[in-house]
Symmetry: D4
Subunit: 150 residues, 8 copies
Amino acid sequence: MPRVAILAGSKSDIPVLEPCLQTLSDLGIGHELHVMSAHRTPAKVQQFAASAADEGFEVIIAAAGMAAHLPGVIAAWTPLPVIGLPIGKPGMSGLDALLAIAQMPPGVPVACMAVNGAKNAALYAAAILALKHPTVSEALEVYRRKQAEG
Amino acid sequence: MPRVAILAGSKSDIPVLEPCLQTLSDLGIGHELHVMSAHRTPAKVQQFAASAADEGFEVIIAAAGMAAHLPGVIAAWTPLPVIGLPIGKPGMSGLDALLAIAQMPPGVPVACMAVNGAKNAALYAAAILALKHPTVSEALEVYRRKQAEG
Amino acid sequence: MPRVAILAGSKSDIPVLEPCLQTLSDLGIGHELHVMSAHRTPAKVQQFAASAADEGFEVIIAAAGMAAHLPGVIAAWTPLPVIGLPIGKPGMSGLDALLAIAQMPPGVPVACMAVNGAKNAALYAAAILALKHPTVSEALEVYRRKQAEG
Amino acid sequence: MPRVAILAGSKSDIPVLEPCLQTLSDLGIGHELHVMSAHRTPAKVQQFAASAADEGFEVIIAAAGMAAHLPGVIAAWTPLPVIGLPIGKPGMSGLDALLAIAQMPPGVPVACMAVNGAKNAALYAAAILALKHPTVSEALEVYRRKQAEG
Amino acid sequence: MPRVAILAGSKSDIPVLEPCLQTLSDLGIGHELHVMSAHRTPAKVQQFAASAADEGFEVIIAAAGMAAHLPGVIAAWTPLPVIGLPIGKPGMSGLDALLAIAQMPPGVPVACMAVNGAKNAALYAAAILALKHPTVSEALEVYRRKQAEG
Amino acid sequence: MPRVAILAGSKSDIPVLEPCLQTLSDLGIGHELHVMSAHRTPAKVQQFAASAADEGFEVIIAAAGMAAHLPGVIAAWTPLPVIGLPIGKPGMSGLDALLAIAQMPPGVPVACMAVNGAKNAALYAAAILALKHPTVSEALEVYRRKQAEG
Amino acid sequence: MPRVAILAGSKSDIPVLEPCLQTLSDLGIGHELHVMSAHRTPAKVQQFAASAADEGFEVIIAAAGMAAHLPGVIAAWTPLPVIGLPIGKPGMSGLDALLAIAQMPPGVPVACMAVNGAKNAALYAAAILALKHPTVSEALEVYRRKQAEG
Amino acid sequence: MPRVAILAGSKSDIPVLEPCLQTLSDLGIGHELHVMSAHRTPAKVQQFAASAADEGFEVIIAAAGMAAHLPGVIAAWTPLPVIGLPIGKPGMSGLDALLAIAQMPPGVPVACMAVNGAKNAALYAAAILALKHPTVSEALEVYRRKQAEG
């Protein structure tokens, strides 16, 4: 079964991630949620990112608010595709996190989703995995057909 | 050989895409460049998107400026992962295109890159393809190692 | 009787559209409300837009939030005048939708209203229809006179 | 022949309007260009707007930069549909003009185009006129078909 | 006694103006509050502005939200100093009104205050009137001294 | 003769002020230009502001870019009306200076002009002075009439 | 014991400063809180800043909202390192204060923290003091280790 | 002699740093310039940051554009005070880098300077060092006095 790692920059981001977890479950994609901060726990972040491919993860979703370095730092340490989810905090409406994730410099990309767009982070992970895993491809096809119908 | 479709919303976007084409070539990833507009040639866009998977493409990179609907419209018609590249035009510095690509509503995701971040669009396509294609995985590993050294 | 189509990108946009529906009714302009998404139901959008003129609609009002592609996609498939209504969602205050509607590229225009400016969408539709339909012209004149008085 | 009034808030805006004039000519739509300022020549603006319908104009395109009041002031004095064209001046990239035109309060709408989107202002005027004038409808259809082909 | 006219673009702006009215009263400056809209009641606005100097007003405070044309339109019709007060409405946080008031084009200035900065509008009117009216000068001096103490 | 003080936050702002100086001259208003920085020369700023009224100045125009504290600091030390002119520097298009001048907190107002709106700073000073000085009032009336004609 | 001065631009900013006071206490750093306004009480601000070094303060934290001149004015009068804390007020989400603090012109720097980032203001003060005071260095090391663990 | 490390996220940032190097030299502060990228060379960044204090550096200045993670990543690995310098790149005017540096989350602060404010980065480093090093304190005092005079 394909596996996705979901990383939250802080515990307070977990409720926003709920639709991401639910959608991955609906699509039959294995996932693990970890809380780690690019700033407060940099060693944990580095170790996780550097070993993620060997641990069998195929895609990493990283959610963070404000300066939102987590997705970019993860991407610096792993060749896996990283999906960045900007979290909107009071005070800047998430524009800060959006820019900190989307505006990655040349050489190390991150796929930026909408502010608080947790469901789409799961669906994009699924679209990536569907290239390789027929079960995900089928589940995603069903999901999109239902969505178009209803 | 894995194949990537690169779509430009207008001919004037092609020079910005140069580093994307070059990087894909450097990584040994097949690619085709097409010009089509979500607004001026919607039928062409729909047909391309709806048949892209059957045509053997595995990832689509779509570049557009201003209201930048091209990536989102492509994503509506294909299950393939779509990478959206916002193009900065005089008058709004690309913030319009960035928001029009990143802020996709729930259900149909697009991976937003930095404004004019053409090289990263290629590298993200490579990261996706590397999950399935060992040759891409190896080429990407070499690329990143050289980058870290130089 | 002139007829206006009102399209909402999602069910959650309907309450914002209330003043639009009410104002069209007050002016004696026929209207129909449909929910369809440029991303989740692209075929429905295309079919509706491509046949709208033949169905007897004369103006289309399309409301959407976030990346807000609905008005632009409709405009790509119909020669009818399209009025785009940006919906403000938490997280970006509607600036994302405003730019995604106003900043249409050359060749396919959309008339952008204010964020959540549902009443004005109806009044602009009326101003267009008034050129051709004397009853709308008279109703609009009365409406504006009352507005100036009260 | 249908007639469109094109108003520029200052002489320096005329070069930006060139594609608008050209497109109206291409579509066989009569037009007149006038320079007037909502601030420096308010009486001229009021008189023009208040008599525009009687003078036989059917649509008004008003272009202005910075605080960009011209379209809104025109719309206050005429029931005709007004198309507002924000002009980008150095110092704010046109965002000021875009907001000053798009964010009209309830009761008096203006159709906002993209910053410097002069061609689209003409095309939107044509879309409005096409409802009533078969010659414009045919010219617009040809224009869009050519655009889709080329 | 010096007199200030206070104009609100809509009735809903009156609560925001409360500190303005109170401060003018505290400083012994006569004032009148009128509601008028640059868009819905343009004739009323023009007449008021054109006769304000003859009516004995010396300063005009005009408050408006969204596209916020009221201060600029007033300034177009009177040589009196106009103080513009941007009102923050949900959806754009007042940045739209701020730009629509501050970014006046060359030839007709408006003095822009902070978003919802009603007290400062009164104090700026007082600073202007203090040049001519010793009683206002004295009252303002006392006000500022108390403010510095408390 | 009425006198206006014009303060530039740095020597590099002087060219932007040229239309301000010229317009004051055209209107027969005496003026003096001084360069002083709220940050680099705070004592000079304080002394100038605190004695400006006694020196016979009636209005102060203060121009500054970036964090643009000069107008606000001047206003803190003088009861005279202060006109703030935001200067656009590369890097932020003047939005930083605009907000730093317009968003003054309650108690000490500054009249914010447009970014680089030097001519309007002079005209607003004239509008203030015209309340007291008939010669300025007449000169301003002539200026506005010519402007409306030309 | 090292001492930090904490300045609030208005009483309403004190609740936002709570985490700053708490963190300084946790780290064993002496601190004093004073309320003073760069605009309403400029003499108090100047006197405080000019004598802060002699009074034994080593770092100054200054918090302010809106135009947020307090940190910059303090920095103009003291050679001590000044940490500026932008306070978010309704109406502009703190972007105004952030720019007014970060965009200081060449010659007089201020260290800008995040909007409402009170805890970080304390931690940055600690990082500065740790260079000189071993007790602060040790306390900060413990704090960061606990943070990384928990 | 006190030593400052200056880190540039890319070689293209070095010209912007010139005033920083010059000012540190003028003040007699030792400094070393290194180029390293938080994304392309994360191991180099981590090693540098983790050993910077032991290497005898007392302050770190880190300059980066776009998503600008370098200062925050450095700050995650060192207790030394980090000064972040946002670099303005075409396409977003440096607002992206400014937010990515200023909006650091609670726990790990960075001192944000103005966009391209290289001289101030040096002066802030000097202000920090002056607390401990009398020679820097004296040099800074002379610098500020000259600045105030000239």
